[in-house]
Symmetry: D2
Subunit: 234 residues, 4 copies
């Protein structure tokens, strides 16, 4: 049905709700929509609810022996499609989502997670998406924050790689209470799943060759002066 | 030298400084670094200083007969690599950069700029980068804002597609006064140019097939209920 | 009726819509609600639609002889309550609102606008509020951006000094089309007007004495080392 | 020496570093500067390092019996000056700072924390400040996020109520390593302490009378139509 995706692809979705299982999570309800569509495209999905795991805050790969973060890192290694899903709290990502970002920050500095020859970070050649639910406002701020952060970590962000639902200004129903079938959100979710899958397929077959180690070396020398530049046109 | 880039590639860089030519622009000095590297990779660059053009604010494709925005749209059509470059003012993108975003917002609704069959927006199959200069703070906020916005417009954002320079807290030298050779900024600039070029090359040879029209149709019907979903694993 | 406000108070509201008069502005419709309540409290309001004036971008007090910004500065001087009102475009303040911020940035450096003895900026002893309309999302990002910016310029921000209306995720009716009587928005608007008025009355009768010139002098010397500090308790 | 502050004033500073005591916190080093100046003004300070307490995430006043958050709430009740201090991680507030915001969100809905007659929230008649340290960029984004949030919770934000230190773009020394005596940061810190103290003194002697219960009632009825409004002038 989707013969172009020759390679098996896997999506990993981190649900950063504050609620532990089995409490109902609105973010999870939105995630379900994406999983169903990934399945149609032949992509297998795994959801990790971070609140269920023992993951202390910190900016290191492993905090202590009970730390369950290293197994999330293994799941990240294994996926081609990486999605961060978060509720909005007081206009921004959940504290659990920020904790995930802080833990991921360590991947920049962990030699085991960086490609020895190219210096590429853990997330190079993976694609990233963002899913957000809230009862009002904040989705654009959250997706901006996550788009940039995931890009900084090394992810490629394909077109329209975000989906969200929020209600009108003020207190009001959450995603599930509101019926969870907003046409606009549905469209964003489907689009995100398709562009993520296409791009993951493309990148899996065509790894980036950019050599960060070489570029880091070159960056130590001054870059060419303006004078030698070609004419610029308006 | 870079035989993998068979197709000729073009980068278009919008400099959103508040200053008109020929006033010296710090953002322009950073842009020069990118242009020189693009040239090494065989990518031809065009810089447009928006302040030099007569572009009224608005959320339409053409405001009036004197409006020079349509010719920028033509330049966007022709490029594979699209970069927005802006100074930081009071912690955020320049008013001219926001004006550009508002004008670009019209591309969502202009039938001439949307692919008839696939519904893909003007920026699908183009890649996007962000360049920022300021004398202190704000680069991450600006790059987040632009990363998401350009992704929303349909751009693909390859890894580390942003570069910036800012100084220490408080008033202080601007990019040029500070010597314009920060090793960290140089590294980001080189990396951005390389990942943009690789990804543009990849996308030019492999256009995304995602059909937004079809997905928009499907979004009108409810997406599958949770019940039929596969087991999810933590 | 409100005898506690002995002094006459004036509010100045800058409407940063992209539309020129007499085009209908949703932001203006929200502003009207505030003006009516200010009137009940005996506060006289002035609205300036920035798009109607000839105000070039820049970071100076006066750009050229046609520049109408200086007369806005005179209106700011005369008010006790200063409100910035803006629509949301692609998740953020309008380009015209950002232009206003850039022009206001010059007030930090213009000797005529700074109190000679205390070094207090133009906005010291004025209070600030924020009004936002959009058809979906972005209100919190916009109010955060403006709250901080106005505070940085020297304004006092009394409790709940912001009001906004946004609709559900996706395209949809704007404030006026949606009936402009959201109970939540009404409550925020009334609260904003009351806290602004109370605080303006308080500050008008009790100007801050903080001497920025003296503090700037002291800042040149090292501040006391940790060692001499009192015990801190958790 | 500061006879105008007749009433004893107390500042409460929440240090949202990720590090537990006695690990060295850069944010703590900046906090020390503020405490020393508060002491000069006769204001007694308390610092709470949130990482040292057992505070689970959530949006409730008390999560379980071991939850130490309620004692922070008691400290908040007792202070007139409330400061949130946070490091920057990947461009934003720490996960611990976001956790604090989420826990504070419950104060909106906890009847015991809301004034029965006026409906005023816990933070009404308290003033708020923000302190931020990072090794590069992000201070304005963090202060914006906190300025608005604290204002939303009911705090008054006096002029220039924020202070921060960040270094140049890229990895580099943290606040302590950089010598912790930036003249600009020192000036901001002194100014913040003085305006917070003046405004806290003013508010302690002049509690706001705004009755949120009454305004909430009025908000249920339509606010006056545009037609009856006075002429607006440009």
């Amino acid at each position: 049905m989707y013969p172009e995706y020759a390679m098996p692809l896997h999506s990993l979705i981190l649900n950063c709700t504050l609620k532990k299982s089995p409490e109902t999570s609105n973010t999870d309800a939105l995630i379900d929509k994406a999983i169903a569509e990934f399945k149609r495209l032949g992509v297998e999905s795994t959801v990790v609810r971070i609140a269920d795991l023992n993951i202390p805050p910190g900016v290191v790969t492993r905090v202590d022996n009970e730390d369950e973060w290293p197994k999330v890192i293994e799941q990240i290694r294994a996926c081609e499609i990486f999605i961060v899903a978060t509720p909005i709290w007081v206009g921004h990502i959940s504290s659990i989502c920020q904790k995930v970002i802080e833990r991921l920050d360590a991947t920049f500095y962990d030699e085991e997670l960086i490609h020895k020859d190219t210096g590429q970070y853990l997330f190079y050649n993976k694609v990233a998406g963002v899913m957000v639910t809230g009862n009002e406002d904040g989705a654009h701020a959250v997706t901006s924050r996550l788009c940039w952060t995931l890009n900084e970590f090394g992810c490629t962000v394909p077109p329209n790689a975000t989906t969200y639902w929020v209600g009108e200004a003020g207190p009001g129903p959450s995603y599930i209470e509101a019926g969870q079938q907003s046409e606009y959100t549905n469209k964003m979710t489907l689009t995100m799943v398709h562009t993520l899958t296409e791009m993951a397929s493309l990148l899996s077959a065509n790894h980036l060759k950019t050599n960060l180690n070489e570029l880091a070396e070159r960056a130590k020398e001054p870059l060419p002066p303006i004078a030698i530049l070609p004419e610029k046109h308006n």
